[in-house]
Subunit: 160 residues, 2 copies
DNA sequence: AATGAAATCCCAACGTG
DNA sequence: CACGTTGGGATTTCATT
């Protein structure tokens, strides 16, 4: 299931470019070129290559959740009834296809999944939990942690 | 500390635009205009306004963590020794200023904080935990959940 | 809010080390 | 093979109505 992208190791320039575009991908290529000491065309080629190879997965506008009236952020620890492969895949597909589930991690340590769910209000959150957890018998139990403060929500990766 | 952005309620067009640009902010404005039935100039102005008002927090290239050799993603539940405001703020600042801590949520439900930490390997992860948790006495205990699979890692918000 | 002009940016082609 | 330079084409931006 993994991308069989032949990952040509990123050199110094690629990493410098990534550090910039992950903060602001609308930075003009000319300006990037200036910073990393390359021509604009070279920057363009490298970005295109990294987009094609999947190193850059997506170019997205990051929204402020409160501004779009999504006031409930919950972290949910999910325990499956068993850890058979079919059960795990069933759960993965369920979470993947549920748009309110923003993030989903399959983890070690007793818990099976950790989800991050964002909804407009508590009512919407209750509906989601009912739809997801109560109606699927392969979920043994779950625990909701409601967020009081999104201290840090960015997704910037520290490039070595 | 919160942005007191005067949230002018988003209308139908704004939401339609946001749904597009959060998936791909490099979509040509002309194409956006086509979809939402507005002129390209109108789209341009609305996007600029939403960027200025903070509804669009940033425009970023989303990287594939594995491609940039960040192979450990851990979810950490942190318990503080006490819940005094000063202690909580101390912890918040610590997590905010640690770049490996990608996400940080202050939550209800017995746990104080939930962190998402991304590092290159287990060695780097151990160093981080030692630096963060062992050296700060206001942290009572913590539990690490290592992810086996990032089933869903995007941050798309479902706009009503 | 729509139109058109000017500036800017992106991208392909060519030539070089 | 990757870089730099150049030029055409598209896009964003701004001024005007």
């Amino acid at each position: 299931m993994n991308k069989k992208t032949i990952t040509k190791p990123l050199d110094k320039f690629d990493r410098a470019i990534l550090r910039i575009v992950q903060k602001d991908n609308k930075t003009p290529q000319r300006q990037i070129a200036d910073i990393v000491h390359l021509s604009a065309a070279a920057v363009q080629r490298r970005i295109a290559a990294m987009e094609k190879s999947g190193i850059i997965k997506q170019n997205s506008a990051v929204l402020d959740v409160h501004a779009v009236d999504m006031n409930i952020t919950a972290i949910v620890e999910v325990h499956l009834r068993d850890e058979r492969i079919e059960t795990v895949d069933l759960a993965k597909n369920l979470f993947k296809s549920t748009p309110e589930v923003q993030q989903c991690y399959y983890v070690t340590g007793g818990i099976s999944f950790v989800l991050i769910i964002v909804t407009a209000d508590v009512k919407a959150y209750e509906q989601i939990t009912r739809r997801i957890f109560a109606q699927n018998d392969f979920i043994a139990k779950y625990r909701s942690l409601i967020t009081l403060d999104r201290v840090k929500s960015g997704s910037e990766i520290v490039i070595p």
